[in-house]
């Protein structure tokens, strides 16, 4: 069924970007590093290449900042850093996510009770 096939996509939409923000919350990371990390999470990203458009959008909205830096072992790297507005957005998501998850768990019966 198409709706079931789109379930993962629908669940990722709106949450994956905050997972990216959380990844660079305490340390700047370069693109390939972020992509590799999410590439290992099969339930998050469909493929590594789809994360670059997401990083681009987060940079355009001002939640991420990027800069190129020389690499000791390869081509230059593009490092991403969390901005102040991105940090605020991440904190807001955490609050909303907890409430959202509790509501869904209660309604769907996935709370583990």
């Amino acid at each position: 069924m198409a709706d079931v096939a789109q379930l993962s996509t629908g669940l990722r939409r709106g949450t994956l970007e905050f997972c990216v923000l959380a990844m660079v919350e305490h340390e700047d990371r370069y693109g390939t590093e972020i992509v590799r990390r999410f590439g290992d999470e099969t339930h998050l990203a469909a493929s590594e290449g789809t994360l670059y458009p997401l990083l681009s959008r987060l940079r355009r909205v001002g939640w991420l900042d990027s800069k190129w830096s020389e690499s000791p072992s390869g081509p230059p790297r593009r490092y991403y850093a969390l901005t102040d507005s991105g940090r605020s957005a991440l904190e807001h998501f955490r609050t909303e996510w907890v409430s959202f998850r509790q509501t869904v768990d209660r309604l769907v019966g996935t709370g583990g009770e």
Binding site: T32, S47, P53
Partner: protein, 274 residues
């Protein structure tokens, strides 16, 4: 794996992605292609990719060009445009035309576009205006310094009706460039346009404008001087004859001609100075 093979495989992948990104803003398209290229280069350097299989595995993890492009459109908030089947994949043969890419992505990609029967891409790089050789006899209204209207280009300057002019605007050009016309791209030797007809009233190539006047002044002065000298000679001759007739008296008997010699020259009145 040789560098050439690596470059070829990567370029093919990026080209496939780029062909699907024609609906994105140019900066986002460039950014994504640059990120993908940097990702592949980083993977190659940090993971020591040495075979084509390993490289293909990196590209496989990145995702197919269609998946990557779909994510790009979704993040940009743009609808995914239909992808012409003829423009996807390697050489698709008939039904597509290949032209030089105006892409900003390293200039090595080629873009294919369908000829007919497929949707028109949202972004089509502007093709250069075709250079059409001008006709031998341009129509009236296209003479003058204004560029001719291209095919399908409406409007433009049309001079008012009137006698057909053979020369247009602007200063005449010396006929050294082989063209006498004055507008648009012209083939050498194209008739028409501004400028005086060749060889008539036009300055001689290489001559200075004041040289002819100097020659004319010198000739006129010489002619005038010659006329004055001639008139002076005539006046002198008349005076000489008059003086000679006055000095010969009828009472004086005529002498034989033989007695008149150069030792006894007649006394002549002084000649008037001219």
């Amino acid at each position: 794996m040789s560098n050439d093979l690596y470059d070829a495989v990567v370029a093919e992948y990026l080209r496939e992605v780029e062909q699907r990104l024609h609906g994105l803003p140019v900066l986002q398209r460039r950014e994504l292609l640059g990120d993908l290229e940097a990702h592949i280069a980083t993977e190659r350097a940090e993971r020591g990719i040495s075979s084509e299989t390993e490289l293909l595995h990196v590209l496989e993890r990145l995702g197919t060009p269609a998946v990557v492009a779909a994510a790009a459109y979704e993040e940009a908030g743009l609808p995914l445009p239909p992808v012409p089947a003829a423009s996807v994949g390697s050489a698709s043969g008939s039904g597509s035309v290949t032209f030089a890419a105006s892409s900003r992505f390293t200039g090595r990609a080629e873009r294919t576009a369908p000829i007919v029967g497929t949707p028109v891409p949202a972004y089509v790089p502007p093709a250069p205006a075709p250079v059409i050789p001008p006709p031998d006899d341009p129509p009236v209204g296209r003479r003058g310094p204004f560029p001719p209207n291209g095919p399908g280009r409406p409007g433009g300057f049309v001079p008012p009706p009137g006698p057909r002019r053979t020369s247009g605007f602007g200063p005449p050009m010396p006929p050294t460039s082989g063209r006498s016309g004055g507008f648009g791209p012209q083939a050498p030797g194209r008739p028409g346009g501004f400028g005086s007809p060749a060889g008539f009233g036009s300055p001689v190539p290489g001559s200075r404008p004041g040289s002819t006047a100097w020659v004319r002044v010198l000739i006129a002065g010489a002619v005038l001087l010659a006329a004055i000298v001639a008139l002076g000679c005539l006046a002198g001759a008349f005076l000489f004859r008059g003086a000679e007739s006055d000095s010969v008296s009828p009472a004086v008997p005529a002498q034989p001609i033989a007695s008149i010699g150069p030792a006894d020259p007649p006394t002549l009145p002084p000649l008037p100075t001219p």
